[in-house]
Amino acid sequence: MCATTCDKIENLQRESSMRKGKQNPSGITIRTKPLWKRMLSCWPLYLMLLPAIVYYILICYVPIAGNVLAFKDYSFRKGIWGSPWVGMKYFNMFFSSYDCWRLIRNTLHIGFIKCILEFPFAILLALLLNEIRAEKFKKVTQTITYLPHFLSSVIIVTMLQRILAPNTGVLNQIIKALGGGGDTFFLMQSGYFHRILFTMDIWRNIGWDSIIYLAAISGVDQELYEAASMDGCNRLGQCWHVTLPGIRGTIGLLFIMGVGGLLSSGFEQMWLLRTPGNMAVADTLDVYVVRIGLQNGQFGYASAIGLIQGLVGLVLVVATNSISKKFTEVALW
């Protein structure tokens, strides 16, 4: 019953999105004008863009240009531009270090967990919360779920250590009560590291990340729900055929942007969770940069690794964006 109506709803959906994205009817005439005239006619738009452009140039691009440090031997006195060139020295140094591939592998693994595996959970929570009709209850639960976002990593890791402690930790107590050994040292065994990381991230971010999806859901056309329910779609069906397609664009954009972070793991969390037992998998590029690059004053080396991370991110984002553009029409540019 529902299946047949789904087509209808999808049609409606498409209609609605077409309506929204309708081209400027006078677009054709504008296109024929020379570029400078078109630019001139848009001057108020450039004026509106101006603060953001100034911001990006001064705050982002000038420091990004400072990445030439990756090819220079940095001298305090001579500054970024005056320092002597050293060519690809730092890149060679990095790629010839025996640790390099292990670091890249670790970083990719953690990046995969953070960017891909963790990604759907906030959407799921948003969909769940959307199903809750009791407004008070919804408000309270939402506030609770976003609470951990305010706790600093130091506090969370301290709590985590307490929960996961061998013998005395809550988790091991439960395992013991269920007849297990209860002496597993989770933080000292590399096998558990990724699971711990994943759980900590979900716990901390799920509520916070779901806010943006909730907002997107609020923008979904109510008529579509009415139509779907009229056609006999139950709530699961509505969720699948109306809500999800309705926030598809938001999901797609966030995913494309998130993919760029595949080669960065962040420093603080890794550093706090790292133990001699799990360092074989917990050492990532970000940790390495802080340990080797900054603390020892090897700024060029740190920049070189940053450049590698950025380049990989760029390739991934461009690729994901064009694939997405082709198949789903959701794209950043």
Partner: protein
């Protein structure tokens, strides 16, 4: 179970729907419990006597109830003045961010804007390449931002993610409305202020909330770009308290004076830290319910029809 009490208010509900709501409530309640319990621990510790808490075993209720920790945090005047900084940066920063971001998002939403794609690409680019610690510091110092209040506001003025989210929200507003406004003689600015802004409350609320919370939570700028603790926001003060516990494990002492100084600086009890956590977190938590009403269903469409 508990979830039975909250029956969905929908008129027609099939058995399948009922199953869905039961499952939903169960999952959401379970999740809330998992999240809440550790946070309760923070609360319990903050109300417990510090010396007593250091003996361990305080979980969800304080064993020796006291308000001393809170009193002590407030007595140390630095947190009050740090609060002023935090409030100022949050308000100013969020307002300016929203203004600049929404302007830019609107401009980038106009399909007739030449160079739109290039600009968006260039902006996305900055998300992937950072300047690195040194070039960034050098540039901020050149801009005079070091030891300057504006270092809290300017570097986080426009976020790529929020800009793109806002632009895609504008995409969702029916184009006819903009067109009608333009036909009425509204220029770009008029369209922006009279049509787009009033319709964009949900996205403004979300981006505003995210930005405000980011401002509230940021301790790094204070720690790194401010050499005087007088301009630190509360989070930097808190982070300093917390990091003291971290750096303690690597403490190297060579002489008695250093040993005494080190043990002096670690007298901050866990309970005191937790009280500081609660004090720094509570105000911003209260913001959410107010923002939430803008996410109510149909905000957008209702406005369009009206």
């Amino acid at each position: 179970m508990e979830s039975q009490h909250h029956k969905p208010m929908k008129v027609r509900s099939t058995p399948a729907d009922k199953a869905v709501s039961v499952v939903t409530y169960v999952i959401v309640i379970a999740l809330c419990l998992v999240i809440l319990l550790p946070c309760l621990n923070v609360l319990a510790l903050s109300f417990n006597d510090g010396k007593d808490a250091a003996r361990g075993g305080v979980y969800f209720f304080p064993r020796m109830f006291t308000l001393m920790n809170y009193k002590e945090v407030f007595q140390d005047g630095s947190i009050i003045s740090a609060y002023r900084i935090t409030l100022a940066r949050t308000f100013i920063g969020t307002f300016l961010s929203l203004a600049v971001t929404s302007f830019a998002a609107f401009a980038l939403n106009q399909k007739e804007l030449p160079g739109r794609g290039i600009i968006i690409f260039a902006i996305t680019f900055t998300m992937l390449f950072g300047g690195g610690t040194i070039p960034t510091y050098v540039q901020y110092s050149r801009l005079g931002l070091i030891d300057n209040f504006w270092v809290y506001v300017i570097p986080s003025l426009v976020s790529v993610t929020y800009l793109i989210m806002m632009r895609s929200f504008f995409d969702g507003i029916p184009y006819e409305l903009q067109e009608a406004a333009k036909l009425d003689g509204c220029g770009y600015f008029g369209t922006f202020f009279r049509v787009m802004l009033p319709l964009s409350k949900p996205v403004l609320a979300v981006v505003g909330l995210y930005t405000a919370v980011n401002h509230w939570n940021d301790w790094f700028a204070g720690a790194f770009y401010m050499t005087s603790s007088k301009l630190w926001p509360v989070q930097t003060v808190l982070q300093q308290m917390l990091s003291r516990a971290m750096s303690a494990s690597t403490q190297q002492t060579e002489n008695v004076a250093a040993a005494i100084a080190a043990s002096q600086s670690s007298v901050t009890t866990d309970s005191l830290k937790m009280a500081a956590v609660v004090i720094t977190t509570a105000p911003i938590l209260c913001v959410y319910p107010f923002v939430q009403k803008y996410f109510a269903k149909g905000t957008l469409i209702g406005a369009v029809k009206g």
